[in-house]
C-alpha cells in the first residue's frame, strides 16, 4: 500500500491522454495498473513501442535497464477488438437516479472467445472503470493465450531479475562487511566508525527496504553467540547502520 506520495513531477494529463490511446491511466498522481484491488503495482511508464513519444511523458519514471529488454523491445500492450468484448449488465439495486448516490460503479466485461470475465471497480467513475476493465481483460487474455510469451510474464521476469540481482549485490556487500568486522574483532571503535562510513556509502545506491531485509538476514547467519548477546549486537548494528543511512 503506497502511503506516501513521491515528490516527482507528474506529467500533464493531456500528454498522457494524447499518447497510446489511453493505455497509461492517470490515477491520482501516479500511473497504476492493478487487478481488482488485489495489489497495486506502479507502472514504469513505458509508452511502449513508440520511442518518439517517450521523451514527453516518461521522463520522471523510466529506469535505465542496462542488460535487459529496453522498453521498446518489450511486447506491446495487448489490445482487444471491441466486437470480441461484451459488457455484462450489472443490475443496480434500488431506483437509482437522484434517489441514490451510489459510490461504486462496477463494470463487468467478458471476452467472448475465451469466456474470461472480469469485474472492475477500481475507481468511482464508470468511464474510467470501463477503460481499466479493457486493459485488465486484455492482459488476462494475453496471459491465457500466450503464457510465457505474454507481456505480463515478460515484465514479471524482468522485475524478478532486477530484484534478484539487487538482493545478490546486497548479500555480497554485507558478507564483505561481516568478514571485515570479524577480522578486526580487536579494534571495536574503528569497526563502528568504519561501518558507519560504509553504511553511508552503501546507502546512496540502495533502497532502504532491501538493505533492512539484508541486514537482518546477514546477521542471523553470522552471529554464533548466546541469544541475548546476539540480539543486543543486532540491535546495535542495526542502530548503527540505520543512523548512518539516515544521515
Amino acid at each position: 500500500m503506497m502511503k506516501t506520495t513521491l515528490g516527482l513531477p507528474v506529467p500533464s494529463l493531456s500528454a498522457l491522454f494524447a499518447g497510446a490511446g489511453g493505455r497509461i491511466l492517470r490515477y491520482g498522481g501516479l500511473p497504476f495498473i492493478s487487478g481488482s484491488g488485489a495489489g497495486r503495482r506502479p507502472v514504469i511508464a513505458t509508452p511502449a513501442a513508440r520511442p518518439g513519444a517517450a521523451a514527453v511523458a516518461a521522463a520522471p519514471f523510466t529506469t535505465t535497464a542496462p542488460s535487459w529488454l529496453k522498453p521498446w523491445q518489450m511486447p506491446p500492450r495487448p489490445k482487444l477488438p471491441e466486437d470480441e468484448l461484451e459488457e455484462v449488465y450489472l443490475k443496480g439495486s434500488g431506483p437509482g437516479g437522484q434517489k441514490i448516490n451510489k459510490t461504486n460503479s462496477a463494470v463487468q466485461l467478458r471476452h467472448i472467445p475465451t469466456n474470461i470475465v472480469i469485474k472492475c471497480q477500481e475507481t468511482r467513475s464508470r468511464t474510467q472503470n470501463r477503460k481499466l476493465a479493457r486493459e485488465i481483460l486484455a492482459a488476462k487474455v494475453d496471459l491465457f493465450l500466450n503464457g510465457d510469451k505474454s507481456r505480463v510474464a515478460i515484465v514479471g521476469n524482468v522485475k524478478k531479475k532486477k530484484a534478484d540481482s539487487k538482493a545478490k549485490k546486497a548479500r555480497r556487500k554485507y558478507k564483505k562487511l561481516e568478514e571485515k568486522k570479524a577480522g578486526k574483532a580487536g579494534g571495536q571503535q574503528l569497526v563502528e566508525g568504519e561501518e558507519g562510513a560504509e553504511g553511508e556509502e552503501g546507502e546512496e545506491g540502495e533502497e532502504g527496504e532491501a538493505e533492512g531485509e539484508e541486514v537482518e538476514e546477514g546477521y542471523e547467519d553470522e552471529v554464533q553467540e548466546g541469544e541475548e548477546a546476539e540480539k543486543g549486537k543486532e540491535a546495535e548494528k542495526r542502530g548503527g547502520n540505520a543512523d548512518g543511512a539516515r544521515q
Binding site: S14, G92, G94, P95, I100, T103, Q121, R126
Partner: protein, 411 residues
C-alpha cells in the same frame, strides 16, 4: 434495514483494519467497504497536509460513517474524465447522468461531424447544479469536434451552485482537461461556456437568457444572438414528497439539498386544475386526460420552454419508467409539441430517421446501445408506440426528443 451481522464486523476488522467498523453500517457489504476505504486512503495520500495520514483517514471515516456521502467527504466526484468538485448544498453528479450525457455526446459527434462546422452549436442546461452536464458536453465535443464552435450555457436558481459551477470550470481548465474557451472573435472556432443564475419558472429571468444567447454564424458580435438552440438538457428535481420520505436513500435524504430533489409542489397546487391552460394556452387538442403527478411540474415547464423555442434536441432526466411514460404522454398530448417532435409521418419515414423522435432511454446506455424495444403509452385514449433504448433490466432514466427534420446518424 436489517442489522449487520457481527461476523461481518470481525471479518472487516481483520481484512481492512479498525476503520472498517465505521464504514460497514453505511456501506452494508465488505466489498463496498473495502472500496470506499481504499478511495479514502488514496485521497489522503494524494493531498498533502501536516496532519498525519492515520488521523486524517480516521476523521474521514468518521464523517462517512455518519452518513455523509463520499463525494462530500472527499470533496470531488469523477464524471466522465473530469473531476467535479462537490460541496454540501449542491447535488452530487450521478453515474446515470454521466452515462446518458456521454451517449448524447456520441450522438452529436456522429451527427454533426458531416455538417457545417461554422455554425455554432448552442447548448443549454437547466437546473445545472455542479455544472457537470455542460462541462462534460463541452469537454467531449471540443475533443471530438475540434473545428466546431460551441456555446454552452448552464442555468441554476441558486447562487451557491453557480459559484461551484464556475469553480469546476476553472478547476478542470487548470488541470488541462479541456481546451479553454476562446475570447477573441478572430479565431474560427469559438468556444464559450457560461453559468447564469435564473429561476426557470419566472419568464422574466429566463427569457432573456433563452432569446439572446444562441449564437448564429451570421452575427458579428458574440453577444447578439439570433440562432436557435441545438440542445436543451435538464436534470430537474423529480422526486415526490412521499417518494423522498420513503424511497430515497438515507445519505441522500439527510445530506443532499432538498431544493435539488423535490419540486416545490405548492406551485402545482395553484395551477393543477388548469395545468394545460396555464402551460399550453394555445393547445388545440386540449387533452386534459393526460396523466400527470405533482412532481412532474418541472417537466411541464421544460416542455413549455421546448414548444416556445423549439430546440433541435431535448433531453430530460426522469426518475423511473412511469414518470418517463407520463412525460412522453405530455409531449404527445400537446398539438404543438407533437408537430415539433413527433411528426405525423408514416412509420417508414420515422424508421429512416427523418421524422422526429420521442424516445425513452434506460440506465447505462454506453456499452449497451444495441438494445431497443417498443412500449405502448396511452395518450388520451389512444396508444402510441414509443421506442425505448437500453438494456431491459435498467430503469427508465431519461426522455429524449428530436425535432422533425433533424437526423441522428446511427450509433
Amino acid at each position: 434495514m436489517p442489522r449487520i451481522k457481527p461476523q461481518l464486523f470481525w471479518q472487516g476488522r481483520k481484512k481492512l483494519g479498525l476503520n472498517a467498523a465505521k464504514l460497514l453500517p453505511v456501506c452494508r457489504t465488505l466489498e463496498s467497504t473495502a472500496n470506499e476505504l481504499r478511495w479514502i486512503k488514496q485521497h489522503v495520500a494524494e493531498t498533502p497536509s501536516i496532519i498525519p495520514f492515520g488521523a486524517r483517514v480516521w476523521k474521514l471515516c468518521d464523517k462517512r460513517g455518519n452518513g455523509l456521502p463520499l463525494a462530500y467527504v472527499l470533496g470531488n466526484q469523477p464524471f466522465g474524465d473530469l473531476e467535479i468538485k462537490c460541496r454540501p448544498g449542491v447535488l452530487i453528479p450521478r453515474t446515470e447522468t454521466e452515462s446518458y450525457t456521454i451517449h448524447l455526446s456520441n450522438i452529436l459527434r456522429r451527427s454533426l461531424s458531416k455538417s457545417d462546422p461554422g455554425q455554432p452549436l448552442n447548448i443549454i442546461d437547466l437546473c445545472t447544479g455542479t455544472g457537470c452536464i455542460p462541462l462534460l458536453l463541452y469537454s467531449q465535443l471540443s475533443r471530438s469536434l475540434p473545428s466546431q464552435s460551441l456555446n454552452v450555457v448552464g442555468v441554476d436558481i441558486s447562487q451557491k451552485t453557480i459559484n461551484l459551477s464556475r469553480r469546476n470550470l476553472h478547476h478542470n481548465l487548470r488541470a488541462d482537461r479541456f481546451p479553454p474557451p476562446s475570447t477573441s472573435d478572430s479565431s474560427h472556432t469559438q468556444r464559450s461556456i457560461h453559468f447564469l443564475k435564473a429561476d426557470i419558472f419566472s419568464p422574466s429571468s429566463l427569457d432573456p437568457i433563452l432569446s439572446t444567447t444562441p449564437l448564429s454564424s451570421s452575427s458579428t458580435s458574440s453577444t447578439a444572438g439570433t440562432g436557435e438552440w441545438d440542445l436543451l438538457t435538464s436534470n430537474p428535481p423529480y422526486i415526490s414528497p412521499s417518494g423522498f420520505a420513503l424511497s430515497t436513500s438515507r445519505s441522500v435524504r439527510n445530506w443532499e439539498p432538498k431544493l435539488a430533489l423535490v419540486p416545490p409542489v405548492e406551485r402545482v397546487d395553484l395551477h393543477q386544475k388548469h395545468f394545460y391552460d396555464h402551460y399550453y394556452p394555445d393547445n388545440e387538442n386540449l387533452l386534459r386526460k393526460v396523466d400527470y403527478q405533482p412532481e412532474d411540474v418541472f417537466y411541464a415547464r421544460l416542455l413549455e420552454i421546448a414548444r416556445t423555442y423549439g430546440p433541435k434536441r431535448v433531453l430530460m432526466e426522469v426518475g423511473d419508467m412511469e414518470q418517463a411514460k407520463r412525460v412522453a404522454g405530455m409531449v404527445l398530448g400537446d398539438g404543438k409539441l407533437r408537430r415539433l417532435y413527433w411528426g405525423e409521418g408514416t412509420d417508414e419515414e420515422k424508421e429512416k430517421g427523418a421524422g422526429g423522435a420521442v424516445q425513452i432511454w434506460r440506465d447505462d446506455l454506453v456499452g449497451f446501445e444495441g438494445y431497443e424495444e417498443v412500449l405502448e403509452v396511452g395518450v388520451g385514449g389512444r396508444n402510441e408506440k414509443i421506442v425505448v433504448k437500453g438494456h431491459p433490466e435498467g430503469h427508465g432514466r431519461s426522455v429524449y426528443l428530436r425535432r422533425v427534420g433533424v437526423v441522428d446518424h446511427d450509433v
